[in-house]
């Protein structure tokens, strides 16, 4: 590891290599203090940011934050780098990279062209010297389209994952929340249930139920039961109609091992899902969730700061052409993101880094009851993400997830963001909402006043 020094006034700050520099350049964050890698003072933090800005991007190819020999995620990052894409930015320092990203030449096409040449560590590094408005502005220029039964990520759209969880996986309870969500225009990213238990039979029952509902009402969307990848593979083997394969992923081999996965297993799962050929518009069959803090919580962060190791998870995601990726930003708890300010910054960093790497990034705008955060913080983050072109957010009845015991965005919240920012759902789903009479008028989101005929029969309403 080469030492890096930076002079601020009369004081010289010394950093023990890239890993230390990245950590100390990170905005103040509970998880980095917990890991013992944060800057010791506010001035040291800015000194680190200044030193980082002077660093050539080529440094990131020569100095790895997690060893190549012992970590398959590092090998994926290094071996997977597109040299042609990287050639467009290889002359830049981190600071000049920020200037280029914000410049008028860096339009959507230019950003898409460099994406395969950006490593997670480069993305994390440049984000550390960006303000929130920079993270929003650059991300809003990145467009990533994915398809299964509809088109996700078009400019001017904001999709939602309808999350009709129930603490007992009760079929009618799930259906009631699902119906409520559809009536509020939610569910174009995916209708995704977090099951209460990992029982494979239960997973199969839930997958079958979602499949039947989507088919019966011809909803242009896809379903997912968010269980361990091995359970989904078992369900596929038993003939379950699986649309998307879900898995939580992290940024190091050891953290992934703590989830009971590796890259080979993900490859196998993707092949299994592709073999079902259930996508009508495209074959993006994977759905990944990530979140700052997971590597540290499994003692698998290798001394790398929380955000950088999180960005490395996006390299894992990128290798599997996912339909959706989701940072569950405020879910893990205050020991990693202490309050609303830290959650807001982390959500926007995650979204920026993933978009820069070319991923269909959504954010679970959320918090737990033991964090110092509330609905006002969530409104700020949601609005900023909407402006940043976030691919999708969650939709849960009244923002209260009764299974996972946390607060995320409500159906109403998503409609607020769509209306305030002039955004629509995915076009195929939007057309369905209008055909059903759930949305009326020409605006992006105006609710109809009656229950659609197709649903009235199910509800047996007068």
């Amino acid at each position: 590891m080469s030492q890096i020094t930076h002079l601020v006034g009369s004081r010289t700050y010394t950093f023990a290599g890239l890993r230390d520099l990245l950590a100390k350049a990170s905005p103040a964050r509970a998880g980095d203090y917990l890991a013992g890698v944060a800057a010791g003072s506010a001035e040291e933090r800015v000194a680190a940011q200044m030193a980082l800005a002077d660093l050539p991007l080529t440094t990131f190819l020569n100095e790895l934050v997690v060893p190549y020999e012992t970590d398959e995620v590092t090998r994926l990052i290094v071996d997977g780098l597109d040299p042609v894409a990287f050639a467009r930015i290889r002359h830049l320092t981190v600071g000049a990279f920020r200037d280029w990203l914000l410049g008028d030449d860096a339009d959507g096409h230019a950003l898409a062209a460099i994406a395969p040449g950006v490593t997670p560590e480069m993305a994390a590094a440049v984000s550390k010297i960006m303000r929130i408005q920079d993270l929003v502005l650059v991300a809003s220029k990145c467009r990533v389209l994915t398809r299964f039964r509809n088109t996700i990520g078009l400019p001017g759209t904001l999709s939602t994952r309808l999350q009709p969880n129930h603490p007992l996986d009760d079929a009618s309870g799930i259906a009631a929340s699902l119906f409520d969500g559809l009536m509020y225009g939610s569910g174009d990213a995916v209708i995704g249930i977090n099951p209460a238990t990992d029982n494979v039979e239960q997973v199969i029952t839930l997958v079958g139920m979602l499949d039947e509902i989507i088919a019966r009402y011809a909803i242009p969307t896809q379903s997912c039961v968010l269980t361990h990848v091995t359970n989904t593979m078992a369900a596929i083997e038993r003939g379950a109609p699986v649309d998307l394969v879900f898995q939580s992923i992290a940024g190091t081999q050891a953290a992934n091992a703590s989830f009971g996965i590796d890259l080979a297993l993900l490859r196998e799962a993707r092949e299994a899902a592709l073999s079902l050929r259930r996508g009508t518009l495209g074959d993006n069959v994977m759905y990944f969730e990530t979140g700052q803090g997971s590597a540290l919580s499994s003692n698998a962060n290798h001394g790398v700061d929380q955000q950088t190791v999180e960005a490395r998870a996006y390299a894992v995601a990128r290798a599997f052409q996912p339909l959706l990726v989701n940072s569950v930003v405020g879910f893990i708890g205050p020991e990693y993101l202490y309050d609303g300010k830290q959650i807001i910054r982390a959500g926007l960093e995650d979204h920026f880094c993933a978009k820069l790497l070319g991923l269909p990034m959504g954010v679970d705008v959320c918090y737990t009851n033991h964090a110092e955060a509330d609905q006002d913080d969530m409104d700020v983050l949601l609005t900023m993400l909407g402006a940043a072109g976030c691919t999708y957010v969650m939709g849960v009845p009244g923002a209260d997830d009764i299974m996972l015991n946390y607060q995320t965005t409500s159906f109403h919240d998503a409609l607020y963001a769509r209306r305030a920012l002039g955004l629509t759902p995915a076009p195929e789903f939007h057309a369905w909402l209008r055909d059903m009479g759930i949305f009326t008028g020409d605006g992006p989101a105006t609710l109809g006043r009656s229950v659609p005929a197709a649903f009235q029969r199910a509800l047996q309403l007068p």
């Binding site: 917990l34 969880n165 603490p167 007992l168 996986d169 009760d170 079929a171 009618s172 309870g173 799930i174 259906a175 929340s177 119906f179 409520d180 009536m183 509020y184 209460a196 238990t197 990992d198 029982n199 494979v200 039979e201 239960q202 029952t205 839930l206 139920m209 509902i213 019966r216 009402y217 091995t230 078992a234 091992a257 703590s258 989830f259 009971g260 919580s297 499994s298 003692n299 708890g333 020991e335 009851n369 033991h370 609905q375 849960v396 009845p397 009244g398 209260d400 009764i402 996972l404 015991n405 946390y406 109403h412 409609l415 209306r419 989101a445 105006t446 006043r449 009656s450 509800l459 309403l461």
Partner: protein, 270 residues
């Protein structure tokens, strides 16, 4: 002017906040303030402290019925001194403080001649002391009625203040137990401030991570009942002992899913 949702009758099917109505596309005032109240209560629940005296008495009584030959529960404390430290230092919540560790070491020395226990039960406050004070004793009674006493040699029950899940691994290791089950208060949700989780580790020792554990969550009167939870735990304990492992390679195959889903596979939308 707010619009009501004509499907409000569906609220009887779920505790979720459905059918809230809307004004424009926003939540009506009443729904918004009800949410704020629930959040305020959950915040208060996080900071509530465990009444160890009352819990100790309740668990002693539950043990006396289920396992008459068991000693009184041990009272232990994690290395996190208080709630403030606990919330920011999960590493401290996963380890015992020095006096607690010494106590268990001494106990281990005393019983070194005996056969190692098959199972250590640990009760920890976690993020909801309320969950533990409501659910731990009834659950232990239910478990006592189901677990074959002759087949499972129990270590002394441990009650831990300011504990996280992994503290069970240290306790199990010090007690020399083959397996540990941690009963812990889950983080309070708006609708569920009293959910208890059960975490099972084969061959507990410091440093185990989540892929080596199985979990049964949402044990509470309005969630998974203590009887069903005890049945499920007994099945998992048996399988764990047969396979000599817990974690992602031990799948919950307790038959046809949870009863509500099996009993009613056709919701109203189909």
């Amino acid at each position: 002017m707010q619009d009501l949702d004509p499907w409000q009758a569906l609220r009887q099917l779920t505790a979720a906040r459905i059918g809230l109505g809307h004004t424009g596309i926003s939540q009506p005032t009443r729904a918004q303030l009800e949410f704020q109240l629930a959040h305020a209560r959950a915040r208060d629940a996080v900071h509530e402290t465990l009444d160890t005296g009352t819990l100790h008495a309740a668990l002693t009584e539950a043990l006396a019925q289920a396992w008459p030959d068991q000693p009184a529960p041990l009272l232990l404390h994690s290395a996190a001194a208080d709630r403030h430290v606990y919330l920011q230092r999960p590493d401290l919540g996963r380890r015992l403080n020095a006096p607690s560790r010494e106590r268990l070491c001494a106990l281990g020395d005393d019983t070194a001649q005996e056969a190692p226990p098959d199972l250590a039960l640990v009760v920890a406050d976690g993020l909801s002391a309320l969950a533990i004070s409501r659910n731990a004793a009834p659950f232990l009674q239910a478990l006592g009625m189901r677990l074959d006493r002759s087949a499972w040699r129990l270590a002394p029950l441990a009650i831990v203040e300011q504990g996280r899940v992994a503290i069970g691994d240290e306790i199990g290791e010090l007690l020399g137990a083959k397996m540990v089950v941690v009963l812990i208060g889950e983080r309070p949700g708006l609708s569920a401030p009293d959910s208890m989780g059960l975490y099972i580790s084969w061959a507990p020792r410091v440093g185990l991570t989540d892929e080596r554990r199985n979990c049964i969550s949402n044990v509470r009167p309005a969630g998974l009942g203590v009887t069903e939870a005890a049945d499920k735990l007994c099945w998992l304990l048996g399988e764990a002992r047969r396979l000599q492992l817990t974690g992602v390679r031990l799948k919950d195959e307790t038959g046809a899913g949870s009863p509500p889903l099996a009993a009613e596979r056709r919701p109203f939308l189909l």
